[in-house]
Amino acid sequence: MSKKLKIATTSLAGCFGCHMSILDIDERLLALLELVEFDRSPITDIKHCSPCDIGIIEGGVCNAENVHVLHEFRKNCKILIAIGSCAITGGLPAQRNHLDLAACLTEVYLTEPGLEHGFIPNDPELPLPLDKVHPLHEVVKIDYFIPGCPPSGDAIWKFLTDLIAGKTPELGHGLINYD
């Protein structure tokens, strides 16, 4: 391959477990680095995306900043991949979706025992939470999904190597997991 593919990654409303799983491809990372270079990612600490071939996003969309970052990725990445349960289904953060957001904040910051002087945080640096947590595909077009909580290093390796080889990625029994 003459030119290396550029990959960007980020975690929105996720726990970085999927990024840990990316590291779990272990020494194959060296083989991967023969084919790709990393742009914006916790691995490089680059803060903004430049035009990339593949964007990999962990976590769902739970606040205003997540929306901006997701749009930055969609604008810059030819192929956008949602990785993990939270990015694909909303996951754990979305377990609040059947509850009223104001009621949640009130209970957690105001009415729980021991919160006599409590207040709902409203520092301008804090991104505003969204009313509901959304899977990525509800906000922008997502091209591929790697399920799992997290997907195993082997699943990520299979998926990425299929994709880079120009094949439709398939996981198959043992690699496809929702948990």
Binding site: A82, S85, I88, T89, G90, G91, L92, A94, Q95, N97, H98, K132, P135, H137, E138, I142, Y144, F145, I146, P147, C149, E170, L171, G172, H173, G174, I176, N177, Y178, D179
Partner: protein, 240 residues
């Protein structure tokens, strides 16, 4: 010499009174299915087992086997339909597999794996469905109910208790508990009931046994549902 029909180009023998599903499974041919259970009368509600019979789409669990039928099951058109049905079920309920005790033993999840469903695709509905944890031994998590009706039939026809029923119509249709209070603690359900064994997803759960089987050793970790269903199915010659 019994009569046969054609399934994906293979001759499948059948006995009078068998459905396409029964004859196929008995002969060792898998047709994906979800609400079909070999011990209960099929009611064809989930449509996962839809096949093409002489060019028309039919539920194979209710379709009587007939001589010389041409049945197409493992074709892109049917598998795409099945994938969409699984996706809609995932989007309609709250199926959060990472926290579900049934994960690894769940028929819906295993079908998703087998059909390579990577996303629900649709907008998730995130319905509000409170749990019923009133019974000392049994938990009901309605978030995962797919309305297969198996528990309703098992409780009524095998256990003779009528613990479960459906209420509402259309998108409002939901599983209820047959008690004046609506609570499981006010029924005579027992751990030994058939209704405890038939839930394909994680609605009816025995308390204090969750996650006892480690990941990697659960039912569908060991073999995909397409292989497992054939292991479970009554073979040709044996009484169902």
């Amino acid at each position: 010499m019994s009569d046969t029909f054609m399934l994906d180009g293979v001759n499948v023998p059948f006995e009078a009174g068998q459905t396409v599903m029964q004859a196929s499974l008995a002969a060792g041919h898998y047709i994906p299915h979800l609400c079909y259970h070999p011990e209960f009368k099929p009611h064809g509600s989930c449509k996962l087992c839809t096949v093409k019979v002489n060019g028309r789409t039919m539920a194979s669990c209710t379709m009587p086997a007939e001589k010389d039928l041409n049945v197409e099951s493992d074709i892109d058109e049917m598998n795409d339909l099945r994938r969409t049905l699984v996706q809609m079920l995932f989007a309609e309920g709250n199926h959060f597999c990472p926290s579900c005790e049934k994960s690894g033993n769940c028929v819906l999840q295993a079908l998703g794996y087998d059909l390579e469903v990577h996303t629900a695709g649709f907008r998730h509905m995130f319905p509000d469905r409170p749990l019923d944890f009133t019974h000392p031994d049994i938990l009901l998590d309605f978030n995962r109910c797919i309305l297969c009706e198996l528990c309703v039939h098992a409780s009524s026809e095998v256990d003779g208790k009528d613990v479960f029923a459906f209420s509402g119509r259309g998108i409002d249709k939901h599983l209820i508990v047959n008690a004046v209070s609506g609570l499981l603690k006010d029924t005579d359900i027992a751990l030994t009931d058939k209704a405890m064994q038939v839930c394909p997803v994680g609605v009816i759960l025995q308390k204090r046994v969750g996650f006892s089987t480690p990941i990697g050793k659960r039912r569908y970790d060991i073999s995909p549902i397409s292989a497992q269903a054939l292991k479970d199915a009554p073979r040709t010659g044996s009484k169902p």
